[in-house]
Symmetry: C2
Subunit: 309 residues, 2 copies
């Protein structure tokens, strides 16, 4: 192997690895990073850019990184993605039993056996807490519901590459309406997202996709999802080799959430839902990978889109 080949395969020459090294900080666990000032600044500018792109009629809600375990269970998450779920566990019980667990740790023992599940999980996507909230408002009116939600999300999949973080920010635009209007919302966002990526100078492809359903049962679910064309992804190449990374997704859920949360539609039947998800941290990484580490040197059009002075 020549030295050029060796260098081209070293992490330092991979744009993503270089970006991660300069802008993220390792926190001792794979897939969990601190973020430096310039990364935070571009994140906020991208967030504002998306706000300008979306329908101003959206109702904005922000969710914490944890949500009701019961709600996520009822949403069917355990059936589809049990391996990715992070559950909040705590020391419950009497003062004596909690102190005993802490003492086990002081003595070098395995104290975590004393933990038990709380009524909270880490949110695996930003929109799960929305559907029960929407359900409490009664049947969806003729003009439908449009939301702009966001949360720090978690998926239990430790990986070395910065493009697959365990803890990451997701923003979603969610439509709750008739089947036709939910599908139209999803479909209209595909060309809009292409334009958005163009404005940000990010070469991309938009392709049919499936969720990472778990195990053999999951393979059947994935086939069905693809056959019904329920999911598309916007893919950007962040690494010189390897597969491109999904930075946005366009999802039609049929009446899944309508049925789970009994959300009716004034026009009759159950409400259908669709969402456009922005993988915010992946989009920020993409901007740095494609345009370089210093936003002052990014193309004029990109700087204008992000209001970089």
């Amino acid at each position: 192997m020549s030295s050029v080949e060796a260098s081209s395969r070293s992490p330092a020459s991979d744009p993503l690895a270089r970006v991660a090294e300069e802008l993220l900080l390792p926190l001792g666990v794979d897939g969990v990073h601190g973020r430096r000032a310039v990364y935070v600044e571009i994140y906020e500018r991208l967030d504002a850019f998306i706000t300008h792109q979306r329908d101003p009629a959206c109702e904005l809600l922000r969710f914490p990184p944890v949500m009701s375990r019961q709600q996520l269970e009822r949403s069917g998450y355990l059936k589809s993605f049990p391996n990715l779920l992070g559950c909040v566990a705590a020391l419950h019980g009497s003062e004596a039993s909690i102190r005993a667990a802490a003492d086990v740790h002081e003595q070098g023992g395995e104290w975590t056996r004393a933990l038990s599940a709380s009524d909270l999980v880490l949110s695996p996507a930003a929109c799960y807490p929305l559907y029960p909230l929407a359900a409490r408002r009664g049947p969806v009116q003729q003009n439908g519901l449009l939301f702009d939600v966001a949360a720090e999300c978690f998926r239990h999949e430790p990986a070395r590459t910065a493009s697959r973080q365990q803890s990451f920010r997701m923003r979603e635009l969610v439509c709750i309406d008739t089947a036709a209007r939910a599908l139209a919302f999803r479909d209209a966002w595909i060309p809009r997202a292409r334009t958005l990526a163009e404005q940000l100078g990010l070469p991309c492809a938009i392709e049919p996709a499936t969720d990472p359903f778990f195990g053999r049962v999951g393979q059947v679910m994935a086939v069905s999802q693809r056959q019904q064309a329920l999911k598309f992804e916007l893919l950007i190449r962040l690494q010189s080799d390897g597969a491109p990374t999904a930075c946005m997704s366009f999802n039609y859920h049929l009446d899944h959430f309508g049925a789970v949360w009994e959300i009716g539609h004034q026009g009759g039947g159950l409400a259908h839902t669709a969402c456009v998800a922005f993988g915010m941290d992946r989009l920020v990484l993409a901007l740095f990978c494609v345009h370089g580490l210093d936003p002052r040197h990014w193309p004029q059009t990109v700087r204008k889109a992000l209001s970089i002075g």
Copy 2:
């Protein structure tokens, strides 16, 4: 009891209860809320206001809501606050065992027994991940280190009042330096915080305080903390009755983190640390409780401080 008395004790007349009802959304678990647009906007303006107040030399870092369990254990958290800790648990093991746990849930059983602790916990304060990062930079130089960190934090203490959330945002300014300079940083922030609260039109008191150390062992730690005057809090009255709420704290840790992470100081000995913590969600709630639900009608001086047009 007259009807006036009855009304003054009803939740609706309590400013905090009213603010929570209008600006927060219940998510099915006590102490966990969604946030509406106007709340989010004031949050961002307060965040920018604090950025203008603090030393521009601060190094800005942002952390995710989860951190290394091993790091938190080493910090001594389990000894002091074992009851507040949220640990991330997941289904580990083979496809068959994970599917079996999911099936237990499908059949209405208690699937959470199959969970086991991961190497992550929910961060109980924003500054814990900072000290091991600082340690990797070697001995602290003569002019010390100054950081601006923030994270969504978690403490396992379900409560009905919005002033005690399980999931909340904390921003901290952290000084790592000699004993004298860390203490001076902490002490200088007490009058600065008073001015800051004045600019925001928030009547407050600043008083000696202790951390909520756990159990009988904890009482001894609290007495020692108070005797050494290590902690002060800025208190604001959010409820017409009940104790005022700590919205900021001013903490001197002696060489605790310096010793745990072996952070030396070029001037000799271990580095000492101090931090000023902003309870961001509590400060936002305080603004709405004191000034009302509509920021357009807040006092001119407060609107100017927060750049509300």
